[in-house]
Amino acid sequence: MLLAGKLALFSLGMFAFGYIVMPPLYNVICDLTGLNGRTNSAAVSMPTGEGVTDRLVTVEFVSVVNSSAAWTFKPAQLTMEVVPGKTYKAFYTAVNLTGRAAVGQAVPSVAPSSAAKYFNKIECFCFTKQEFEVAASKEMPLIFFVEPDLPRSIDTITLSYTYFDTGEAPVDIDLTDS
């Protein structure tokens, strides 16, 4: 049956669409539009040109530890007043309280989501995983700038990091010592 064969092929195609096409498509759309508060996940280069000095934007720093993971994860500063176009450095501190050597990963999100594509990270601890020895504490840097053409209607940007325990065993830490 030609028709039945075509329909079966179509259903396989829809499975492929759901399983193979949709996740990358979703990521592309989120990266392009900044929907979902998605910010850049790889470093961007330094801003060129002068900052816009006639306005200040408030950047708020928020931290969340995912589920019941035994970590503390806090920003060193709660807010910063920034000039769009200039680069700034901020810090977050994470402490591994899990009682074992562990690997952590921070996932950023920006609110409002319409500001996400104007918020650029030049260097961020969220680009990589961090390895921690038992009870180790790390101060982790973040260098960012807000693009000068951020719409005037936005005067506060909230940057939120959720810290995850990836559950992996650290590679670079010699576990026999700990």
């Binding site: 759901g18 399983y19 319409s114």
Partner: protein, 527 residues
């Protein structure tokens, strides 16, 4: 002697096989239709039993009867059983029985595939229900299986995923069969626009199924690999996004909603003209409205997710697209009312269920329109108002249409008239208890009672007690349905081949009960 014996032998070859293996090996569309319908009836009581456990726990505030995890797996399983085990198989069963007879074809186009698509179902549900007895219990994260919650249960989750895969394979095979049947098996000369609306709505439903069930299979496969094979589709720590699950799920889920109601529209469009003794008003507009609903169902999925934090433009788009669906649906409701207008109406049981459908489905449609309003939805989201809404469109919607269809075609299937008095009692008792059950859910929902919670604050107590009384009344009144069906199979007043005075369609030209094989010679009236 030889000719008589040969003739007799011939006749035997065309009847059903003897013994219970008849049902195992059958490729006859009527046998398979019966199997689907009986399976659906059994699952209706299993899913209903789960609903009664939920309502018994919610009869009063506090935790009385079951522990919260089991309560959660009851809400999850109730939905999975009712959607995939009751409404969908019942519609497929009706399609099996009626579509070949309605289009004047001898059988389904792919009879062996048909056998297979039914016999997968009992095993799929055995897998699903068996998880309740496994360590860690059944799935308890809601039927939508949202990640990451659904990934935090026991290892029995793999069984749930595989059972959904099996149900999906069954549905897709059934749908391919239905499309192939409609395109290849119509009586010579019957054009698409001469097909009964039940056939039309099923054709469109089958396409919806073929398009979206594989997407669900993809979504649950991602859950499976996230849970057991270390992928991170929905795990933010690994670069995934849990919100993406909701997008993929509802890209399946919203067309699924119409899969559960379009065949019902077809059934109601068959029944109302019969008992109004007038042809259906606006046949062509009914076909186009069904097509429009099917198209729109693909572009409204995010109205299930207004609270995940979408940009304003997205919320506006999904709000207006959703509201637009009420236009073709309104066309349908208008046409049904116009069909009844100045008709010579009588109110046999199928017509009572059809009118009950019309009134109460519209109530559910109206609360759906309220939920479509984004700013209002943020208040209603995940409350009992949503529960009231989708139960109004599914119980007096889909389920009532299936009951209407059962009463309407039962004389054709069995050759006997059902007991009209008990049929009417079944309708009235069900309708009263159904409203006692679901209407108060609007009130507690608007007052803020969250869904899927085994306990609640005291101010919701009175209406919950009322709803629980309605639930038990509605549940037990379905025993009347079983009694009427059983009695009708056993015997009763013999039905004529027309059965109903105003009935129109090829299925009423064959004797009652319909012979094992019908339309081996195609009907001539279309050529």
């Amino acid at each position: 002697m030889s000719t008589a014996a040969a003739g007799h032998h011939d006749h035997d070859d065309h009847g059903p096989a003897k013994g219970w293996t008849r049902w195992l090996y059958t490729t006859n569309h009527k046998d398979i239709g019966t199997l689907y319908l009986l399976f659906s009836l059994v699952m209706f009581f299993i899913g209903g039993g789960m609903a009664l456990i939920i309502r018994a726990e919610l009869f009063q505030p506090g935790l009385q009867l079951v522990d919260p995890l089991f309560f959660n797996s009851m809400t999850t399983m109730h939905a999975l059983v009712m959607i995939f085990g009751v409404v969908m198989p019942a519609f497929v069963g009706l399609a099996n029985w009626m579509i070949p007879m309605m289009i004047g074809g001898p059988d389904m186009a792919l009879p062996r595939l048909n056998n297979w698509s039914f016999w997968i179902m009992p095993f799929a549900f055995l897998l699903l229900l068996s998880t309740l007895f496994m360590e860690g219990g059944g799935p308890a994260g809601g039927w939508t299986l949202y990640a990451p919650l659904s990934l935090q249960g026991g290892d029995s989750f793999a069984f749930v995923i595989f059972s959904i895969h099996f149900m999906g394979i069954s549905s897709v095979m059934g749908s391919i069969n239905i499309v192939a049947t409609i395109f290849n098996m119509r009586a010579p000369g019957m054009t698409l626009m001469q097909m009964p609306l039940f056939v039309w709505t099923w054709l469109i439903t089958a396409y919806l199924l073929i398009a979206v069930i594989p997407v669900l299979a993809g979504a649950v496969t991602m859950l499976l690999t996230d849970r057991f094979f270390g992928t991170s589709f929905f795990n933010a720590a690994g670069g995934g996004d849990p919100v993406m699950y909701q997008h993929i799920f509802w890209f399946f889920g919203h067309p699924e909603v119409y899969i559960l109601i379009l065949p019902a529209f077809g059934i109601i469009s068959s029944i109302i003209p019969t008992f109004a003794r007038k042809p259906l008003f606006g046949y062509a507009s009914m076909v186009y409205a069904t097509g429009s609903i099917a198209f729109l169902s693909f572009i409204v999925w995010a109205h299930h997710m207004f609270t995940v934090g979408m940009p304003l433009a997205g919320e506006m788009f999904f709000m207006f697209a959703t509201m637009m669906i009420s236009v073709p649906t309104g066309v349908k409701v208008f046409n049904w009312i116009a069909t009844m207008w100045r008709g010579s109406m009588t109110f046999e049981t199928p017509m009572l269920f059809a009118i009950g459908f019309l009134v109460m489905f519209t109530i559910g449609g109206l609360s759906g329109l309220m939920l479509a309003i984004t700013p209002a939805d943020i208040q209603y989201h995940d409350t009992y108002f949503v529960v009231a809404h989708f139960h109004y469109v599914l119980v007096p919607g889909a389920i009532y249409s299936i009951m209407a269809a059962t009463y309407y075609w039962l004389p054709k299937w069995t050759g006997n008239m059902y007991d009209e008095k008990w049929g009417k009692i079944h309708f009235w008792v069900s309708t009263v208890f159904l409203n006692v059950l679901f209407f108060p859910m609007h009130f507690v929902g608007l007052a803020g009672m969250p869904r899927r919670i085994p306990d609640y604050s005291l101010q919701f107590a009175d209406w919950n007690a009322v709803a629980s009384i309605g639930a038990f009344g509605f549940g037990f009144s379905q025993l009347i349905f079983v009694y009427v069906i059983f009695k009708c199979i056993k015997g009763g007043e013999k039905a004529t081949s027309e059965v109903w005075e105003g009935a129109d369609g090829l299925e009423w030209t064959v004797p009652s009960p319909a012979p094992y094989h019908t339309f081996e010679k195609p009907p001539a009236q279309f050529s």
